[in-house]
């Protein structure tokens, strides 16, 4: 018996010391203020890195960041091609993310065709999405001639005019010059814009009715939405782009478009005469050159301080490109990225081994930088779609931490009080075990570098319930034994040995559930399972060893405070 006791005491002390050693870095990091952290970053960056690496990791839902699941579209590939495509996509996305400059990105495959990207602490969500999700298939293609383009627009006007559902008197309207109707459209559209901002119902009413007229009258006039700003391209007010896309999608309009060309929109909105516009191009389907030919791409500014990307071509491609561009000097060449036109500059000279992609007036230098990143990393071997996207802002994460901490502390205080009031001194023993459990749980999580998530915090809070349950089982049993008239010593012994069975049984069943959650769950669910399983094991130890040892010392008492 004596021997048992000293063994237990040694075990507890060892656990406490080891736990303290492992928990120390986490405690130190968590207790550091932001200023101290910044200071340490300056003086001892390696030390801070090591410190951060040996602590409990915060999940994306707590520290803020982005979690994206991408599905590689391998629908028309053989299994071998598919897995190859997935691996290459993974590599390319890793390259892009590395160049994007985020600390500790996680990029991993899941299943056969999923890729998970985790970017902790990321702020600029839209940018990251575009960078990761874009296929980055770069193509150089010629534009259809202005005459043919205009003819096609006229044809579209005509076929929409013969729409049986539209008003009959549209023929005359179609005759009005494009410029006039454009002005009308622009006026009406600016009214429409105002009305969305205005709350004045009268104005809204007037605009509504004009809008109705406008839509009826112009359903047949595709061209009235367009302005031929340059010879090569049309521009449309950005607000109208969805409507125009719908028009272009109508079957009979589609049937008009020759097989060797297609309509394509510009990549981004531009400022034009005080309104936001988007360009529309008619582009030949023949691809003159692809992005594979690029050996380097550098973002820079042109002489008008507009962002652009300078690129270099490989030798083979260069001579081929020279043959293509040589006879076509003066013609516009569209630079198409993922089905959208970055720009369509005129060929000034024979292009041999380098060139420039200008991004238009709507672009920022960041756009140019991102474009050069994706061009250098190369195109993805297949289309990649974002199927799951989780973004947590840093403030929300901070909010979750403070709420979780508050809830844990309040819950803990309540339980500690309940136990102390109901079980007196024995309740305090249970409270000690409770604090011991939480401490050891955090230490083990630091040791495993486990990730703490919001559900994980819930798991910690549940641990409070679990460890108290064990104590309650034991104490109730001891009380029962005491009421049958047994001595303190006999009651404690009987209480522990009988309650132990129930405690082990109930904890193992919960452990089974936690194990299944761990095996099948992902992300936050896994975090919960980890916290819960460690918690259960720690709680078992403290119920059967820690409190037991304390009770061993109380065996000699005449009366037990319980």
């Amino acid at each position: 018996m004596r021997k048992h006791e000293s063994l237990r005491i040694v075990a507890i002390i060892v656990v406490l010391i080891v736990a303290a050693i492992f928990f120390y870095p986490t405690a130190r990091l968590w207790l550091m203020s932001a200023e101290e952290k910044a200071e340490m970053e300056q003086i001892d960056p390696v030390g801070l890195n090591n410190l951060e690496a040996s602590t409990i990791q915060l999940g994306l839902d707590l520290q803020g960041g982005m979690h994206i699941v991408l599905k590689v579209d391998v629908s028309d590939m053989t299994p071998a091609e598919a897995s190859n495509a997935r691996d290459r996509a993974l590599e390319i996305i890793r390259n892009r993310v590395d160049k994007f400059g985020i600390s500790e990105p996680q990029i991993m495959p899941q299943g056969d065709d999923y890729i998970i990207v985790e970017l902790p602490g990321l702020q600029d969500v839209e940018r990251a999405q575009q960078l990761i999700g874009s296929t980055a298939r770069l193509e150089f293609r010629f534009l259809e001639t202005p005459e043919k383009t205009r003819q096609l627009v006229e044809k579209i006007d005509k076929i929409l005019g013969s729409d049986p559902f539209s008003e009959g008197d549209t023929e005359t309207e179609a005759d009005t010059s494009a410029e006039e109707s454009l002005d009308d459209a622009a006026d009406l559209l600016s009214e429409k814009e105002d009305s969305t901002a205005e709350e004045d119902s009268l104005l809204a009413e007037i605009t509504d009715s004009t809008l109705e007229d406008f839509e009826e009258a112009t359903y047949t006039e595709f061209s009235s939405y367009l302005d031929q700003q340059t010879q090569e391209s049309y521009i449309a007010t950005s607000l109208d782009v969805p409507l125009l896309k719908r028009y272009l999608g109508i079957d009979k309009v589609q049937a008009l478009i020759p097989h060797d060309v297609e309509w394509m929109w510009g990549t981004r909105d531009e400022q034009f005469q005080g309104r936001m516009v988007r360009r529309l191009y008619l582009i030949k389907k023949k691809v003159e050159m692809t992005g594979d030919c690029l050996t380097s791409a550098t973002p820079t500014y042109d002489q008008f301080r507009q962002p652009k990307v300078d690129f270099r071509l490989s030798k083979d491609c260069g001579s081929k490109f020279a043959r293509v561009t040589g006879p076509n000097i003066g013609k516009p060449l569209a630079i198409v990225l993922d089905g959208q036109v970055e720009s369509a500059p005129r060929i000034n000279d024979r292009i041999r081994d380098n060139g420039t992609i200008s991004l238009g007036t709507g672009a920022t230098f960041e756009n140019a930088k991102d474009l050069s990143i994706v061009l250098q990393a190369g195109a993805l071997p297949a289309d990649v779609n974002i199927v799951e996207n989780n973004v947590v802002g840093p403030s929300l994460g901070q909010d979750s931490i403070s709420k979780g901490l508050t809830a844990s502390l309040i819950g803990l205080i309540f339980v500690v009080l309940i136990m102390a009031v109901y079980y007196r001194l024995s309740g305090l023993v249970a409270d000690f075990a409770l604090v011991f459990n939480l401490f050891v749980l955090l230490a083990i999580m630091s040791l495993l570098k486990a990730t703490l998530t919001v559900p994980g915090i819930a798991g910690i809070i549940l641990l409070v319930g679990i460890s108290v349950d064990a104590a309650v089982l034991i104490f109730e049993r001891i009380r029962e034994e005491l009421t049958t008239g047994k001595t303190v010593r006999a009651s404690i012994e009987a209480g522990y040995s009988r309650a132990a069975v129930a405690i082990i049984d109930s904890n193992i069943t919960t452990l089974i559930v936690a194990g299944i959650l761990y095996a099948l769950g992902t992300g936050a669910v896994k975090g919960f399972a980890v916290t819960l399983s460690i918690g259960i094991m720690v709680s078992l130890f403290s119920a059967l060893v820690v409190t037991r040892t304390i009770f061993e010392f109380r065996k000699g008492y005449k009366k037990l405070s319980i």
Partner: protein
């Protein structure tokens, strides 16, 4: 000794018929919810059904009706919006639509774009985005079903080994009962069943099982001691009464932490805590009125078992 429960002699088993009615109602609701899930009529969270959830903050106050009209103009008629408290000024909203992106411009981008265009003077800061495509949602649904099935199988086998089949079946039924009851209650109040709620249900399965196991443990012990005295039903009643103190004390403490979590744990954990809270109440009830009566019914039909 300060005890709330002191030497009670309540005849729980004689009340079992009344309990059966209540349990039948709860379980039927749960089964209804289960079928609703099968036929795609249940209020599944976007984790399973696919969809988009955007939380963001306007620097100046925004009326929810204005936000609704801006979003419906952008084509999100079925958007579900909640105004969240907690910031000193401005308005924080949680917007949920049952459309998930699958390629192209993501739905969250469209929503944020519409909001920025609709409230030009107001600074809008994105707190969080959660976006799930329909295909991955279905996959998760399958995973969740597997988790539930495996958990039940694992529990049944463990109890079977530790006790015997009879106890194993009774404990599993009680566990099923609790999970279905919570599901049913979520169903009638049209609460969303999210991934976290499923996790809560599984945690609850573990908890409810512990409760049954503790009672069974005592029944087994008492059956050994009282094999020759007293009849079966009074042994069961005695066992339930003996562990009643523990049952209530554990429920009280666990409920305390869960209620604190419900009130102070923030939006993300609210439904999780709610499911656990209902589950603890139901679980406490079922360990007394469902698990043990099943043993009694079984014994009534094929006695000799414990003689």
């Amino acid at each position: 000794m300060f005890r709330i429960i002191k030497g009670t002699k309540i005849d729980f088993i004689s009340q079992r018929k009344k309990a059966y009615i209540l349990s039948a109602v709860l379980v039927l609701l749960g089964i209804a919810c289960f079928f609703a899930i099968l036929f795609g009529k249940a209020n599944l969270g976007i984790d399973f059904a696919g969809g988009t959830m955007v939380q963001g903050w306007f620097e100046s106050d925004v009326d929810i009706a204005d936000l609704r009209s801006v979003l419906s103009e952008a084509g999100f008629d079925a958007a579900y919006m909640t105004h969240l408290e907690g910031r000193e000024h401005g308005s924080t909203f949680l917007i949920r639509v049952k459309v998930g992106s699958e390629g192209g411009q993501t739905v969250s981008e469209q929503i944020v774009g519409a909001i920025k265009a609709g409230f030009p003077g107001n600074v809008f800061t994105l707190d969080s985005v959660h976006e799930v495509g329909p295909s991955i949602g279905r996959e998760l649904e399958r995973t969740a079903i597997w988790m539930v099935l495996l958990a039940i199988a694992g529990i049944l086998i463990y109890i079977w080994i530790r006790f015997d089949l009879r106890f194993g079946v009774a404990a599993t039924i009680a566990t099923f009962h609790d999970v279905l009851a919570v599901l049913g209650i979520f169903f009638i109040f049209n609460k969303e069943i999210s991934l976290l709620v499923v996790v809560a249900l599984l945690t609850l399965a573990g908890y409810s099982l512990s409760d049954s196991v503790v009672v069974f443990d005592r029944i087994r012990e008492n059956l050994k001691t009282f094999r020759r005295k007293g009849d079966f039903i009074s042994t069961i009643n005695l066992s339930i009464n003996e562990v009643l103190g523990r049952t209530l004390m554990t429920s009280l403490t666990t409920l305390t932490v869960v209620i604190v979590l419900l009130l102070a744990g923030g939006e993300i954990l609210r439904d999780f805590a709610l499911a656990l809270m209902i589950g603890i109440l139901v679980g406490t009830y079922s360990s007394v009125f469902v698990a043990s009566p099943i043993i009694v019914e079984w014994e009534n039909r094929s006695p000799k078992r414990f003689k």
